[in-house]
Amino acid sequence: MNASLQLDAQGRLRHLLTTEGLPAAMIRHILDTADQFVSVNEREVKKLPLLRGKAIFNVFFENSTRTRTTFEIAAKRLSADVINLNIGASSTSKGETLLDTVYNLQAMDADMFVVRHAQSGAPHLIARHVKPGVAVINAGDGRHAHPTQGLLDMYTIRHYKKDFSGLTVAIVGDVLHSRVARSQIHALKTLGVPELRVVGPKTLIPADVERMGVRVFHDMDAGIKDCDVVIMLRLQNERMNGALLPSAGEFYKAYGLNASKLAKAKPDAIVMHPGPMNRGVEIESSVADGHQSVILPQVTFGIAVRMAVMSILAGQAPGGSA
């Protein structure tokens, strides 16, 4: 359904809005491109001239430090000019519409918008209204999608597991509100993961999620049994003591990842988390810092994946298009 908006007639990436409908070849192209940037990031001078002269606007209608920073670093390593805007605190609070804000920024000759917004679909709206040649990257919209996070997770899994075709992957926790989970599910299905599970209490699993090709588990031990990859989701504290969950403690007891639960997974299973982590709520410190955790490499790979997406959108990726 998204092919029309984020891919052009030749199948090239025009915007990155969601991993849904993103062809496997395009995902692999992004991951392969990211591979080349990982090595750049290990150099002493971590800068490439690929996006020199391009203006990238980080337009965050919703607060975020980590994601905005990683996009900023990625853009700067590609030599782009980066402008950070925390819109939530300015224009829209004065009554300006979302599209007016975007039109104004576009008039400042933006080449690319990195957009975070509290409403699902806001980056789609922007992508529909920007000038041809201006690209939109979704940096998280509502509970819909966070495609670069999903892709960096794919990069991480491929890095450690090499191949997706035999994997069992579990996504654990607040699937209901998680844009990350949705992006992971679409990408993992496209890449051919045969066994994809979501694990959590019924209050945090959205209706008909099985239609996305996942199996639902409410028992953590059964859900992560024999898994190759265990992805823990962030639980938002504000949702902890409402009607969705009785308490953080009770959630941790049932679904927090500790060493004994992790022992149900395969011995070489990797543990992932999109961050920021709540230790003692979603994950025990010894697991978060343990040898199976790849949480910090995820962050490092995230820079390379975002560099890959930006350079592909700008038509400047090393190695050409997919």
């Binding site: 359904m1 979302l98 699902s120 509970r143």
Partner: protein, 424 residues
Amino acid sequence: MKIEIRGARLVDPAANTEANASLFIAEGRIASTGKAPDGFKPDEVIEAGGLVLCPGLVDLAARLREPGFEYKATLESEMRAAVAGGVTTLACPPDTDPPLDEPGLVEMLTRRAASLHQARVHPLGALTVGLKGEKLAEMLELTEAGCVGFFQANAPIRDLSVLLQAMRYASTFGFTVWLRPQVADLARDGVAHEGEVATRLGLAPIPAIAETIAVRAIVELMGVTGARVHLARLSSARSVALVAEAKAKGLPLTCDVGIYHLHLSDRDIGEFDPLANFVPPLRDPRDRDALRKGVADGTIDAICSDHTPVDDDEKLVPFAEATPGATGLELLLPLVLQWGSESGLKLPATLGAVTHRPARILGAEAGTLAPGAAADLCLFDPKSPWIVSPLALASQGKNTPFMGLELSGRVARTLVGGRTVHLA
């Protein structure tokens, strides 16, 4: 003034008949069909070969946007849209600004509408003051001012004891209580039907039980209050089943569905299309199919346009922030014809859902071609295709998910009280 409409396909849904015949009008009323009354000499002959002549459409929900929302639409523009769509009688919900909760407001609206000499307007008064769901509106006074029923529009009554008393009070005088069934706390901030689509798109969900639990509660309250109730805008298959049960028990319950809900489902949200944002939400295709069947078998009494003029600025926003609703008055007839044709219904049965069946709910003298009835008529070409475009719509509200599509069925002429009020 005597008029002969000659050679049309006469469709009378109230009598369940259709035949090629002429219709004769005298002094604003239907004098006869088929054979001219003795000594009838027409002042005007309208040649109508190849066209269908039926009673003017009766629409149970058309927002005229006055008072308070004149920037979205005006009485002039929407009354013009009504007759352009063949609608000769319409009920307007009280969700204006201020809401229709005072007799003076109702009188002003009916006076203004009457002065335009177009469709007949039947206002629905607010059930509670300010539609706040707290204090009962002055139903007797509002009825004297012209209200034909009392509606909460899309505003919830959270306190069931208020609803209980509203129904008790209304039933004292035999007034009909109109309710859009929804448990507000189950809908919360939801914007889309709870199911596969909302889950995939990450849109906050409204479960079908938000509607069905409300239907059950209303039916229970009917049992103890004796109130006559009209359920507005059903959206789910389960609601249709619950209404069928209640009707089988003999409760004085009627209901309607919006035309868009017969044609669209949550799949039509596509890539967050704000034009597919409706209240109640578009539900899944099984619900849509049950609604279509419900109208065909009579469980659902009427189809309405749920006409909601919305300006562009209110749709050029993310899906969840879009003002729900779409323009409907001029799409009602073609979309009803399409539903009827796809359901294998004959024209009298098809048009019954937008003529005599809703007229009965309003208690309006409309929806029939019987001699003596007001000559409120719609003459249309059932085959004539037209493309939905901003220019083709008289309504100030141009937003519809059908924009750019070709529909069949175009109104050629609309008469109210024997007077031509629209001529294509």
